[in-house]
């Protein structure tokens, strides 16, 4: 009886001190192999009396099980130690930098155009485009600016030697307003002059032969046009308020409409927006009547002139609406605090890193550009 316990004890001791897999295997063969000590003892059970077997059986089987379990446990722990020892040799300096991944950016002008598209989509406007190399008729005449109109001289137009089919020199559009003309004409054509509601914005490049600290010969404008039935200046005012507040994401922005003059609108209004001053910088919104606050002009607007509607093949007694135009570069500068317009067109990577936007900064209603 003490015999089997002694055997078990001896093996368990050996297993505990085994230092590698080979030693453990040798112990297994010696104890549990075909001719192993415990295996042989198990074979003696068959020759025992039932009483002996009843008392010796569990002991011998218990010893076998205990040794087998101990071997498995020891095997696990030897493997774990070996793995740990290997991992310990594989230590890296985790303060080292990972492979470089270049970071791209979206230009503020594109970002603002996307914001505008989102804000106006919420109001039911779609985005329209038109050519930048325009003809005289779309850029001026159709907009109620005849050849001798003094307003032409104020446009600082770039001309080409090429002429259109009227013999007038082709030009670079001085504003996005010709897109109004093209859109209305398309609608007139598609509806055979009957007309249909138009709600568009038209962002894009525009050109004037003007270059100083605050003017560049190329700049970006966004045009807005609504043509529908029963549209009046109250709608224009609401649309501009809604747009400006959504764009700058502030409710406390005041707009001031001043009577103005554009040949293509009647009545016309220039729109000032109230600003306040924070840490020496002008912020759109806030108390424009405070000491440092004031008004700055941000856009021109008005009710589309009946001559313009007529020029596009629609009936001004049926269709009425408003238009507005606004500098996109300036909107970007006011919202994001840039002060140098020329930097917009220089492509300086340092500037882009500072003022650019992440690829995934897609303007969304839920992200805060909704109206």
């Amino acid at each position: 009886m003490s015999d089997i316990e002694a055997i078990k004890g001896r093996y368990l001791e050996q297993i505990e001190s085994a230092s590698d897999g080979d030693a453990l295997e040798a112990i297994r063969v010696a104890a549990l192999g075909k001719k192993g000590e415990i295996s042989l003892l198990l074979k003696t059970l068959g020759k025992m009396t039932p009483e002996e077997r009843q008392s010796e059986g569990p002991k011998i089987n218990g010893a076998r099980q205990a040794v087998a379990d101990a071997i498995a446990a020891r095997k696990d722990s030897i493997e774990t130690e070996a793995l740990n020892a290997r991992l310990a040799t594989e230590k890296l300096d985790m303060t080292l930098p990972p492979p470089f991944a270049p970071k791209g950016s979206i230009h503020p002008v594109s970002q603002v155009m996307d914001e505008l598209a989102e804000i106006f989509a919420d109001l039911g406007f779609s985005v329209a485009t038109g050519p930048e190399i325009e003809d005289d008729w779309h850029n001026f005449t159709a907009l109620n600016i005849p050849e001798t109109h003094p307003a032409r001289a104020m446009h600082d137009t770039f001309y080409f030697p090429q002429t259109d089919d009227q013999g007038m020199p082709k030009l670079l559009r001085t504003h996005t307003s010709p897109v109004q003309i093209r859109t209305m004409m398309d609608v007139a054509k598609q509806t055979d002059g009957a007309g249909a509601p138009i709600y568009i914005i038209a962002p894009g490049r525009t050109y004037r032969s003007d270059s100083d600290a605050t003017h560049t010969p190329m700049f970006h404008q966004v045009e807005g046009l609504v043509i529908d039935k029963g549209i009046h200046m109250g709608h224009l005012k609401w649309t501009l308020e809604t747009f400006v507040r959504a764009f700058f994401e502030r409710d406390d922005i005041e707009l001031r409409l001043r009577p103005s003059y554009f040949p293509f609108t009647e009545p016309s209004a220039e729109v000032d927006v109230g600003f306040s001053v924070k840490k020496g910088r002008r912020i759109i919104g806030g108390d424009s009547r405070s000491n440092e606050g004031g008004w700055m002009e941000i856009l021109g607007s008005g009710m589309v002139h009946p001559n313009v509607i007529r020029n596009c093949g629609l009936d001004p007694d049926v269709w009425q609406g408003f238009a507005f135009g606004c500098g996109i570069d300036r909107l970007a500068m006011l919202k994001y605090g840039m002060d140098d317009l020329r930097a917009f067109f220089d492509g300086d990577l340092r500037w882009m890193e500072h003022y650019g936007f992440d690829a995934l900064d897609v303007p969304t209603l839920s992200g805060g550009v909704g109206a």
Binding site: L96, F100, A101, P102, K103, G104, S105, I106, H107, V109, D114, A117, F120, A121, G124, F125, S126, V127, P131, E132, E147, T148, H149, P150, F158, Y159, F160, P169, R205, Y207, S209, S211, P217, M218, D228, H232, M233, G234, H235, K237, T242, L257, R258, P259, S260, Y261, E266, P267, M303, P306, D346, G347, D348, L349, M352, E353, G356, D358, A359, L360
Partner: protein
Amino acid sequence: MKFSLSWLKAHLDTDASLTEITEKLTAIGLELEGLENPADALRPFRVAKVIEAGPHPNADKLQLLKVDDGSNEPWQVVCGAPNARKDMVGVFGPPGTYIPGSDFTLKPAKIRDVESFGMMCSARELELGDDHDGIIELPTDAAAAVGTSYADYAQLDDPVINAAVLPNRQDCMGVRGIARDLAAAGVGTLKPLEIGSVERSGAGPDVRTDDPEGCPAFYGCTVTGLTNGTSPDWMQARLKSAGQKPINALVDITNYVMLDHGRPLHVYDVAKLSGGLVARKAKAGEKLTALNDKEYVLDESMTVIADDKGAHDIGGIMGGADTGSEDSTTEVLIECAYFDPASIAKTGQKLMLTSDARQRFERGVDPAFLDDGLDIATALVLELCGGKASDITRAGTPPTDMPMISYDPKQCAALGGIDVAPEKQKTILENLGFAVDSNWQVTPPTWRRDIAGWQDLVEEVVRIEGLDSVPSTPLPRKAGVAKPTASPEQLAERKARRAAAARGLNETVTWSFISDKEAAPFGGGTWSLANPISEELKVMRPSLLPGLIAAAQRNADRGASSIRLFEVGRRYLESTEHQTIGLVLAGENRARSWQSGAATKYGAFDAKAEVLAILEAAGAPTAKLMDFAEAGDHYHPGQSGTLRLGPKKILAAYGVLHPSVTKAMGLKGTAVAAEIFLDAIPVKKAKDHMREAFAPPALQAVTRDFAFIVDADLPAGDLVRAVKGADKKLITGARLFDLFEGASVGEGKKSLAVEVTLQPVDATLTEEDLKAVSDKVVASAAKLGAELRG
């Protein structure tokens, strides 16, 4: 338009404060652009009396004065002015006063060892004139005013208002027109027009118009026996407030009437004329030296005023240098004409000549104000210069007929968005000079040639009522589900732009115009500006790459090591404009690093990778694209290519930029570039949201590798396409993974290894199936001369 407050009040009877006036100006469309008060700088100066004057102990030319400026103690002042003497009254600046004409602040000082406090001032020191020979001498009765501010004493406290006049408002290019607008807006009442008294006798001058189109009316009269001189202080003060320099009485009168009433006039010195004056078309090549001393060559479309000898006035724009009035002038002919706005505008544009007169005539002066304008000017000449006025000769007829406009007061709310009571609308229109009859037939005043339709009347009412009171009205909201408002092209462009940025490219915006030199390697520009701002910004770009290469070069010069730029914009070709994405990669692709060692440069395949990713984002069918060469001469001939849908539809070109192109633009090292032709990408047709039914295959795909020996010049793409096409049913992918050239594969040969993916459809592939596919692959490749590598 600049004018002083007192000038405005000469036409406007009002108790309104300056602030009320300036705020109203902005509110009715005469935006306040500036407000200055010349008195502000002179307020600290006081009327002072010299109570003692004696010699300076240490200087012959200096005096020692005791000056009383109303303070408790008289000041001791060292003074160098020769006219300083006891009992004279002048203008004194106490210590601490800023002297505007000398740009310094007075401090107590020792002059030749004698203390001096403050200064008696000259006109120049106060910027009141050029006189610096002595100090200002006020009349002796000014002694009663000792101690008062000089600004108050001299009534200099007269703010100057600068109001922006809109281009359609010629009537407000005179102070009276501004007063009329303010009165209509409720700021006081307009005073009656003052013409002055003119006694006329004798025949009028010989004037006529032979050009009724350009000059429909030419009125004139003469004044004989006059004496030209300087104009009075009140007129000089008003002219100065408007920014006009006083010259002599006759010139000042014409300028004054123009600024006061928006009525330009011209005065000829009769002694310098030969015979009568006629308004006629200029002769081709006729020359005239204008008052600005520049010579202009005229043509037959222009109107001039001429005598028997030649032209003396570019009609309505600028007078000639040789017949103007001078100090010695004793007899004048005053011209008051009506010139056609359109021909004035054309002539002015052609000659590139602007003037105050042109600005007014081309916007249309009041055609009914010729007699009044001439009388006002004549009265002033008689008053200031004396002499005798002739009768007026009236040649031609000014176009005074005005259209009658049918108006409905409801139109104010329908267009202006604000309800204004009909009676109030009538009052507003009448105060602006409109005639409104009982049937709402409205006739604009002759000075409002800008009014053409009922919309203009709405504008007048709304402008005077105040745009601020127009209530904000929400746009009607369309019922139903929101429709996408961006076109498929716009969405594709947006995705492409964001994909490029996500791949580490930085978006730029460069000029649409470049130099001829930059455009040349890219095929040159078709659209070259006739009036460019500079040679650098002259030609509409035929490619986005020159601008991007220039931007890359600037960044490289600033020390940037890795440059990854892109731009989304248009190329301008002969027939149309093409929306395009351009990109340039320059400098280091990978910086040197502890892991990968030395820095690596960009290669053609970096450009190709960007192109494919951006095309994919833009929705192009990238799996169907074919590789072609012929990317253009601006690329490396052997390391560039195009991706096309069919042989003619080019979606993108890319490659290593030709070294001569980058070198010419100062960009050092290798740079790669690409252009993606967005408008060539087929637009995906709108379809519903449902996709084709799909379940992942139950059977696992297997891969097999094939290595072929091919001719060295066989494009790998051809082999891959042949392999992929060998069994259209089973082969779902073929990818080239190894390229080897060397002695072991033989001279003029290379080895290409392709991994083929097979997707079993109905049952697991058997050995026989696999063998059959392998045979097909080998056979297909063999058609290109490829041998399976043993």
